[in-house]
C-alpha cells in the first residue's frame, strides 16, 4: 500500500488553513475514498458533501491541486502522489465548513430563467411531434448534474465575483436547453444580454474543460446564445429583417 500526503482545507466561514494528513491508498481508490478514510480514522469532524459516489449527484465538487473536480471521480492513480495533494472547497461560493460551500446562489440564478413554454400540442391527444435532428442538439445539455464546477472555474465569478450580473456557464447551458428546444416559444435573448450577462463570458473555455459530463459548454451552448443576442441586438441586417417578419417564437418555429 502506498501512502499519500493530503493537505486538506479545514476551517469555517472562510477562516482556516491546510491540515496535513497521511493516508494509505490502493490504486483503485478515488480521492473521496481517501477523504472518507481520513474521516473514519483521523478526523471524525471533517465536513465533506457527497451522495452517490458515482459522479451523478454533483455533490462532491471541490478543488484538487487547484483544479475543480468531483472528489468521487478523481482516481488516486491519476494524480501525482509523490507530492502532497491539496484538497480545498470551491472558491467561487461562500465557504461554510471544511470542504463544504454554500452553492445556493445557483438555485436563485436558475429561478431567474424564464421557464419552458411549449407551443400548443400538435395532436388532439395533447402530444407533440418532433424531428430527431431538432432534439439532438439539446440532449447534451440535459446531462448536466449541477455540480457547479463550471461556475467555480469561471473567472467572472471566481475572480470578479460578479454573481449578480452573470448567471454563469451552468445556467447558460440551462438557458440553451430551453431556448433551443424545438417546442419552446419563450424568448430569452433580452434576458441573456441584460440580466444574465452572456456578454461577460469571454469564451476562454475553462468551464468546458472541467465539466465532468463533458458538455461542450462554450461551443455548443454559450456561443450559439451569443449569436442569437447578436441577431437581436447588434446586427443591423437581422434587426431590420425582424421588422418585416413576425417573431419566430410566436410561430413556434
Amino acid at each position: 500500500m502506498a501512502i499519500a500526503k493530503m493537505h486538506i482545507w479545514r476551517g469555517e466561514t472562510g477562516e482556516g488553513s491546510f491540515q496535513e494528513y497521511e493516508c494509505e491508498f490502493t490504486p483503485g481508490m478515488v480521492v473521496l475514498d481517501v477523504i472518507h478514510t481520513i474521516q473514519a480514522e483521523q478526523a471524525a469532524d471533517l465536513a465533506v458533501r457527497w451522495n452517490c459516489k458515482a459522479g451523478k449527484c454533483g455533490s462532491c465538487s471541490a478543488e484538487i491541486n487547484g483544479v475543480p473536480r468531483l472528489l468521487c471521480m478523481t482516481r488516486m492513480d491519476s494524480i501525482n502522489t509523490d507530492q502532497p495533494i491539496t484538497v480545498e472547497p470551491m472558491q467561487a461560493f461562500p465557504h461554510m465548513r471544511d470542504l463544504v460551500t454554500d452553492v445556493s446562489s445557483n438555485f436563485r440564478a436558475k429561478k431567474s430563467i424564464r421557464p419552458f413554454k411549449p407551443r400548443k400540442p400538435d395532436a388532439p391527444d395533447g402530444t407533440w411531434r418532433m424531428q430527431q435532428d431538432d432534439v439532438n442538439r439539446v440532449q447534451e445539455f440535459r446531462k448536466c448534474i449541477e455540480c457547479f464546477l463550471c461556475q467555480d472555474v469561471c473567472h467572472v465569478l471566481r475572480e470578479h465575483h460578479q454573481h449578480d450580473e452573470f448567471v454563469g456557464p451552468r445556467h447558460l447551458v440551462y438557458t440553451a436547453a430551453l431556448e433551443m428546444h424545438p417546442l419552446d416559444t419563450e424568448d430569452r435573448t433580452a434576458d441573456l444580454k441584460n440580466e444574465h450577462g452572456v456578454g461577460l463570458c469571454n469564451i476562454t473555455k475553462c468551464c468546458t474543460k472541467v465539466c465532468p459530463e463533458h458538455i461542450t459548454i462554450t461551443d455548443n451552448a454559450i456561443i450559439p446564445l451569443k449569436e442569437r443576442v447578436v441577431d437581436e441586438f447588434y446586427d443591423p441586417v437581422t434587426r431590420l429583417l425582424r421588422i418585416f417578419r413576425p417573431n419566430k417564437n410566436q410561430q413556434g418555429a
Binding site: 483544479v67 461562500p94 465557504h95 446562489s105 442538439r137 451569443k226 449569436e227 441577431d231
Partner: protein, 268 residues
C-alpha cells in the same frame, strides 16, 4: 438575482496565484509566441510590396491584388493619387479582411484573451485586473461584428480558389501559357483547403446555416448543412492553427521562389 444573504468574502488572488501544480503557463506562452511570430512575419511580408508572385502563383497575403505590378492585378499599377508618405503595398488593401476575421474569431478571442491579456492566463490562475467588463461593453463589444468578416472571408475563399487555377498555368517561351502542376500549385491548393476547413467551421456560419433556428431541420436545405458545419466546428481550433501556419508558409514559399532561393519543381 440576489447574492447569498450570508455573503462571506470570497478569496481574492493576485496575478499568477494558483494552487495548480502543472505547467499552466506553457499553453498561453506557446499561443503568444506563435501568434506574435505570425503577426511579425505577416506585417513584414505585407510591407515588402514585392516578391509576392511567381509564374502563375500569387501569395495569399496579396490576393486579390487590386492594384499592383504583377500580372494578377485587377486594375493595373498602383494609382498615382496615392499619397507618397503612406507606404504602399497591394497587401494593405485587402489584408485587413482576413486579419479582422481571425481577430474576431471566437476561438482566437478566447486564446488571445488568455495569452496576451491574462484574462485569465489559464483556468484558476489569478488575474492582474481589478475591473472586468468582458465583451459586454466597449471596446470588446465590437467583436460582435464577426459575422460580417465571415461574409468577406467566404468571398476570399473564391478568390483563393481562382488563384489555384491560375497556379496551374505556366508561362512558355513565347507569351503563351501551358497547363501544369508544380509544387507551388499544391501549396496553393492545400492553402485553400485549410482556409476552407477553418472558415466553413465558423461559429457564425453554424448559426447562420441552421443554428439560429430552434428546429434546425427547418433551415434552408434541412439539417445537413448545419451538421456539416458543426462537424468542422468541432475541429475549429486545429483548423485555425493549421491554416494560419500554412497561409504564412505559402507566402514564404512564393517569396523564396520569386527571390530565387527556391526552385519550383514541376510535377506535371
Amino acid at each position: 438575482m440576489s447574492q447569498a444573504e450570508t455573503r462571506i468574502a470570497l478569496p481574492q488572488r493576485h496575478f499568477g496565484e494558483t494552487r495548480r501544480k502543472d505547467a499552466w503557463w506553457l499553453q498561453p506562452l506557446v499561443v503568444a509566441g506563435v501568434l506574435s511570430a505570425f503577426i511579425v512575419y505577416s506585417t513584414w511580408a505585407a510591407l515588402q510590396g514585392a516578391h509576392y508572385s511567381f509564374a502563375g502563383y500569387l501569395s495569399p497575403f496579396y490576393s486579390p491584388e487590386i492594384f499592383g505590378n504583377s500580372d494578377h492585378a485587377w486594375f493595373g499599377p498602383w494609382p498615382l493619387w496615392w499619397p507618397s508618405w503612406i507606404p504602399y503595398s497591394p497587401a494593405f488593401l485587402i489584408l485587413w479582411a482576413p486579419g479582422g476575421f481571425r481577430f474576431t474569431c471566437y476561438y482566437y478571442r478566447g486564446a488571445y484573451y488568455k495569452a496576451f491579456w491574462a484574462s485569465p492566463s489559464n483556468c484558476t490562475v489569478g488575474k492582474p485586473h481589478k475591473k472586468y467588463t468582458g465583451e459586454r461593453s466597449f471596446p470588446l463589444i465590437l467583436q460582435n461584428i464577426h459575422r460580417y468578416f465571415l461574409y468577406l472571408a467566404l468571398i476570399f475563399l473564391v478568390f483563393l480558389s481562382i488563384d489555384v487555377y491560375h497556379g496551374m498555368w505556366f508561362p512558355t517561351a513565347g507569351s503563351g501559357a501551358e497547363f501544369g502542376i508544380g509544387v507551388g500549385t499544391l501549396v496553393l491548393l492545400v492553402n485553400v483547403l485549410l482556409l476552407g476547413s477553418y472558415t466553413l467551421g465558423c461559429h457564425s456560419l453554424r448559426h447562420l446555416i441552421g443554428g439560429r433556428k430552434d428546429c434546425v431541420s427547418k433551415a434552408v436545405g434541412g439539417a445537413m448543412p448545419y451538421k456539416c458545419v458543426s462537424c468542422l466546428n468541432r475541429k475549429h481550433m486545429l483548423c485555425a492553427w493549421l491554416s494560419l501556419f500554412w497561409v504564412g508558409f505559402t507566402d514564404f514559399y512564393i517569396r523564396m521562389l520569386s527571390m530565387g532561393y527556391f526552385t519550383d519543381w514541376r510535377i506535371l
